[in-house]
Symmetry: C2
């Protein structure tokens, strides 16, 4: 790594969910200008082809269970490169501000006297929606859209899924395969009807993406039967009319 | 409009929130291949420069209050062009599946015997987050991210903001300027602390974007004092530690 006289800069770049042509034009330019490229596990090899031949490329991925490069070591690497005046492109799958651990890396670059730029990207839930032609909002039926995770960080409690899944909401669960039973049973226990539409989108935004369409009461079964694997997004929709149907059925039963 | 022998195709294209270099590479290619371009009010002129010189360009925007092209007429236009075998690019600001009225346009194209492709885009909330360096998720603090609207369609009830804004949630309100008082008072009445961080991001993703940082209890005042105008995104964060502080303060007061 060669130090230079510029102020160092960290550019956090959202690379979208997979296919290289889902990068923004700005992302491709910033990658091409970078002197050091830090990339992780879900970045497709074609994305690295936007980089200059002179750029140093460094894999900093963490696969589940493999240990990998720890976040603290990565923050240190960023600080060191920025202090040396380098233009550092940190490639993140999806969007850098969604489950991207961006704050720690930004803080490391600022503390090292560098500048920071953030390039937004297409987040996996929206690639999943586009690929399966599912609107995550729908006039009068779905007014809010929730992005949450099926997998909390070590020791953290999982998100309060039940409180978010109200009538009028479409929720996207990232990395939910291992928690399929828990998501299904938590939502059903909180009153979401079993026949609410639910779709698994495996490898959203990649050319080999696959959609498994089912209903909430069969979410875990479908994942198992169809061998759905992470990275996958689960979209669950609770349209207002389903809540109204349920209320009418309950009234009739009385 | 010249009919041709191909099967017609509707391509719904997310054009991101403003700046033309926030289009994806795929979006620029699909625009260049289109024979008819349908675009609306928030599409920047530079985006149209990706189009072929031979393409017909048609403005189909609806400004608030100006009447504009009604959705039914637009659906009809799409059906007609697709039936004539044209490749129709429908440019949407942000992502087409988020507040994009996509379902109706998809249905029109399918009914006319056409194919449909959807190209996801950068949604305004994520451009807002990137531009103001705000992570919408944060380890242990913010586990879910909600996108909702400050402005319901005519006659529809507004979204149930209070039920979505729980500890651990960051919420993005689209087009919320006119509802600033209502958002602020609804959230505070439901228990979100007045000092929760809140940021207005005007024209997120555009080069003249502006961030006004404040707290929930000053959201409406800040919008007024700083003359914040739509299109604007309001990001409100309710980190888990704020909820814990509040609980501790309540316990001490007893």
């Amino acid at each position: 790594m060669i130090a230079n006289s510029h102020t160092g800069k960290l550019i956090l770049i959202g690379c979208g969910p997979g296919a290289a042509d889902l990068l923004t034009v700005r992302a491709t330019k910033r990658i091409a200008e970078a002197e050091l490229i830090l990339y992780d596990r879900l970045i497709e090899p074609e994305v690295l082809e936007f980089a200059s031949n002179d750029a140093e490329r460094l894999y900093v991925g963490k696969a589940p269970g493999d240990g990998g490069v720890q976040q603290a070591a990565l923050n240190e690497k960023i600080a060191e490169a920025v202090a040396a005046g380098l233009r550092v492109a940190r490639l993140k799958s999806g969007d850098p501000m969604v489950f991207g651990r961006a704050s720690e890396e930004i803080a490391a670059a600022i503390a090292a006297g560098g500048e920071v730029e953030i390039v937004p990207g297409v987040t996996a839930a929206l690639a999943a929606a586009a690929g399966s032609a599912i609107s995550v909002t729908e006039r009068a039926e779905l007014q809010s859209f929730v992005v949450t995770t099926g997998r909390a960080a070590d020791k953290d409690a999982p998100p309060d899924w039940a409180s978010l899944m109200k009538p009028g909401v479409c929720a996207a669960f990232y990395m939910g395969v291992g928690q399929a039973w828990r998501i299904q049973s938590t939502l059903m226990a909180s009153g979401v009807p079993g026949h609410a539409p639910a779709d698994w989108i495996e490898r959203a935004g990649c050319y080999d993406s696959r959609t498994v369409s089912t209903t909430l009461e069969r979410v875990a079964h479908a994942a198992d039967a169809e061998h759905v694997r992470n990275p996958a997004v689960l979209l669950v929709r609770f349209p207002k009319s389903l809540a109204a149907d349920k209320a009418a059925a309950a009234a009739q039963a009385r």
